[in-house]
């Protein structure tokens, strides 16, 4: 059977540093092909080259047997290729429908755009996918997760023969992921080809049939997923054996680290009460839009709660702005690294130090050596793959950017850590490291509150789990007394 896409020896380097040295892929019609690899393995770079976003330095791309060289995404689109990029790239002040149909607006006579039929088509598409988004909403009013859904809808609307999906589920919840999977299965049935990138291995085994693995910019293997197990795949991705994914070593203590009582915020959540102990990892689980992020924003002083009290170490505290929270030893890893986590224009080092400048340099003058050392420590702790720590953080792979955000907050030696989707886009190997650091942090007397949409992660790492539904808490459970099915049922 003819291959939809065949790639050999693809090469790309940035400023003399190789990002991709030997990228290979074979995509068959009707196949969902998982592209696996650690953070910085070159997956996104590989897909961007195929899409005509980057220019390759070498290698061969064949589309249905014919050699091609797309100079721009427009050419790739015309050749029946579409992409969901890893980094969300919405046009903020346009509507959902305009974003979906950008470049393909239905026109009326005299060249005007037919907004009505565009909105209708977009709404039909979103409804078919069961995504709860209105086509006339503006992108800027959406949450990251919703933007991700729009990107998915946009890629599907292209009716392309080949669709690249670069971590499409990293920002969305279980329910939406299932809807994506059913859409993918429909595509599969139509004989389309999908290249699927994800760090969630369970997903890969659920949806994909074949795989290709990259490590350090080079091809390491490919085959049928039915012929490998989880351990084999992990070995290919990380290059070594990884016995267990969730290793939990912390033991919750008796002292309460942070306690929240009757916290409310209109339109977002109401009457939230919980207490997290020192040494504990406290999980919050819920579906998209259930109000978890907003709780964190109130705890960190980014938003104002309309009612409720917060206690830290048993004392009532008021938090009006991030510096108040930081002075109390609270740190917040936000879910949207691009808009609230990082200054993409600045270096890795500057980003790691961004939240700790007064501590690193108590005097007005900066402590350079201190910064270099801090950056070195965090890069080692979180295995951040960057050519050098003065390179702009925008040049890092998505997962590595996420690790920079984590490093930024761990550097502050907080007492209470608020983690909003901490492992978004992080590979299995590094996740293990992050979990280890979380446990060490807890064991040293820290308190962790973690929001996650990944059910395995919540069950694997949290000591207790609070489940949210529509802005309300529906109960808190011990990890040993619950399971994935129960949590999902409670949250819907």
């Amino acid at each position: 059977m003819e291959l939809l896409l065949e790639v050999e020896g693809l090469k790309k380097s940035f400023g003399g540093v190789a990002a991709l040295s030997d990228g290979r892929l074979e995509l068959r019609a009707g196949s969902v092909h998982a592209l696996c690899g650690g953070n910085g393995a070159g997956k996104s770079t590989f897909l961007k080259i195929l899409m005509g976003i980057y220019k390759r330095d070498g290698g061969v791309i064949r589309r249905r047997g014919a050699e091609v060289d797309y100079a721009s995404p427009a050419e790739a689109l015309a050749a029946g290729i579409a992409i969901i990029e890893q980094e969300l790239s919405p046009i903020p002040h346009m509507t959902v429908a305009e974003n979906i149909y950008l470049g393909r607006e239905p026109s009326r006579r005299f060249g005007g755009i037919d907004f009505n039929s565009m909105n209708r088509a977009a709404q039909a598409l979103l409804d078919e996918l069961e995504f709860n988004i209105r086509a006339t909403q503006r992108m800027i009013d959406l949450t990251v997760a919703e933007m991700q859904l729009v990107e998915i809808a946009k890629a599907l609307s292209h009716d392309a023969e080949v669709i690249f999906m670069d971590e499409p589920t990293s920002a969305i919840g279980e329910r939406e992921a299932q809807r994506l999977f059913s859409a993918i299965r429909r595509l599969q049935a139509l004989g389309r080809g999908v290249v699927y990138v994800s760090h969630r291995l369970s997903e890969i085994f659920e949806i994909a049939d074949t795989y290709t693995a990259f490590r350090d910019g080079a091809f390491v293997g490919s085959g049928l997923l039915a012929e490998v197990n989880r351990q084999d795949l992990i070995r290919m991705i990380v290059g070594r054996e990884l016995s267990e994914e969730y290793v939990k070593t912390n033991t919750p203590g008796d002292d309460v680290g942070i306690e929240v009582e009757g916290l409310c915020r209109s339109d977002a959540f109401e009457a939230i009460s919980f207490s997290a102990h020192k040494g504990e990892i406290f999980g919050i689980y819920g579906l998209m839009g259930s109000g978890r992020t907003e709780i964190f924003e109130c705890l960190f002083g980014l938003e104002k709660a309309s009612a409720g009290a917060i206690f830290i170490d048993g004392e009532s505290v008021t938090i009006n702005k991030p510096t108040d929270a930081m002075a109390l030893g609270v740190a917040l890893v936000t879910e949207d690294r691009k808009s609230t986590g990082l200054n993409l224009l600045d270096s890795v080092r500057a980003n790691i130090c961004m939240a700790s400048l007064p501590e690193l340099s108590p005097l007005f003058v900066m402590n350079r050596a201190g910064e270099v050392d801090a950056s070195r420590r965090m890069r080692a702790d979180f295995q951040i793959k960057a050519a050098r720590d003065t390179m702009p953080v925008s040049g890092l792979s998505g997962g590595n950017q996420q690790k920079v955000v984590l490093g930024k907050w761990f550097l502050r030696n907080p007492r209470i850590l608020l983690l909003d989707e901490p492992t978004r886009g992080v590979d299995v190997g590094a996740k293990r490291e992050i979990y280890r650091i979380m446990c060490d942090f807890a064991n040293a007397g820290g308190t962790v509150v973690m929001v996650s949409s990944e059910i395995d992660e919540v069950l694997g790492m949290a000591d207790r789990i609070m489940v949210m539904r529509n802005g309300k808490s529906v109960g808190t459970f011990d990890r040993r007394e619950t399971n994935a099915q129960a949590l999902v049922n409670l949250s819907t």
Partner: protein
């Protein structure tokens, strides 16, 4: 039915209303103050004056809106006004100063030449900004200087006087009692409004300004869009230059100095963000009217020019402060 009605009052709708009409409100307040402080302000003659005085800046501001929506800026419009004004005038003059052999030509030829001069300047700026990725500020600052120099060289530093009555008509004529420049502004504005809100090209301008990367990955030719907006802006500056020459009766080499500031001010007061991707052409029109009304009103009230300048500064800032939506910004 009830569904559409309730939707009308959603938060989204409310915000759109404020956005669209916030600055309009500021304009109304300003106009109200002026009409109670001066009996002549609301006379038909004066309203016609205000519109006439707004027409040139209005035409420039419309073009500037296109550029700013893509995240660019065009500092060269004032100089292009002068260059196009003088070159077109040299085709429509009965004097011998700088006249082209065979002048005066029919007005249509002079007009075509003026717009062509603008388009040529815009094409050069657009080329440098879009293909060579030189920042728009630097490129158009260069054009500001170069076009002024060319204007002075072309006319030998002297004005081109004695324009034909047909040419002058576009600046001084009336149709049904409405001054010709006002009609031209209305047409330009109407076309721009239609382009920006109803056509693909218009939406692509917003897309390029909002997120160039996303626009590119959606198959939009970002380079071309960036090029075209400078052509539009300078082409309209060419038109404005002819309106100015026709209005003053002679093409002056020092015409249009600092006009770029007023044009950009109209756009920004109208709510368009200098970083691109957000803004409305209706806002630009209101911004231009605010500037026009302010200049006219302060003159009418006979306020001394020093104090006028202080007041103008305060009023511009005040109008935008009234416009609530800005506080949404980061």
């Amino acid at each position: 039915m009830s569904e559409t009605r309730s939707r009308w009052f959603t938060a989204e709708r409310r915000r759109t209303l404020i956005q669209e009409y916030g600055i309009f409100l500021a304009f109304l307040i300003l106009a109200a103050i002026l009409s109670v402080s001066n009996e002549f302000f609301l006379t038909p003659g004066n309203i016609s004056n205000v519109l006439l005085q707004t027409s040139i800046n209005g035409v420039l501001a419309v073009g500037m809106t296109f550029v700013i929506l893509t995240g660019g800026i065009d500092l060269s419009v004032g100089s292009v006004v002068a260059l196009a004004g003088i070159v077109s005038a040299s085709f429509a003059t009965t004097s011998s100063t700088a006249a082209i052999y065979g002048a005066p030509y029919p007005v249509i030829i002079a007009l075509a030449v003026g717009v062509a001069v603008g388009v040529a300047c815009g094409a050069l700026s657009g080329l440098i900004v879009s293909y060579f990725s030189v920042p728009a500020f630097v490129t158009t600052l260069g054009m500001l200087s170069a076009a002024r120099g060319l204007t002075l060289i072309y006319g030998g530093g002297r004005p081109v006087p004695a324009l034909t009555p047909e040419f002058r008509w576009i600046g001084t004529g009336h149709v049904l009692g409405i001054p010709a420049p006002v009609i031209i502004l209305a047409i330009v504005f109407g076309l721009a409004w239609w382009t920006l809100t109803r056509t693909r090209f218009g939406r692509y301008i917003y897309a390029v300004g909002g997120n160039a990367h996303a626009a590119k990955t959606s198959g939009i030719d970002v380079v071309r869009i960036r090029f075209v907006v400078y052509v539009i802006s300078a082409g309209l500056a060419g038109l404005a230059g002819m309106l100015l020459s026709a209005r003053t009766g002679s093409a002056l080499p020092q015409a249009g100095i600092a006009y770029e500031l007023d044009a950009i001010a109209a756009v920004v007061i109208g709510g368009t963000s200098l970083s691109g991707g957000i803004g409305r052409i209706t806002g630009t029109l209101i911004g231009a009217l605010i500037i026009g009304v302010m200049n006219n009103g302060l003159d009418l009230m006979g306020i001394q020019s020093y104090y006028q300048q202080v007041l103008k500064g305060a009023l511009i800032v005040g109008a935008v402060m009234l416009d609530q939506k800005r506080s949404y910004g980061a």
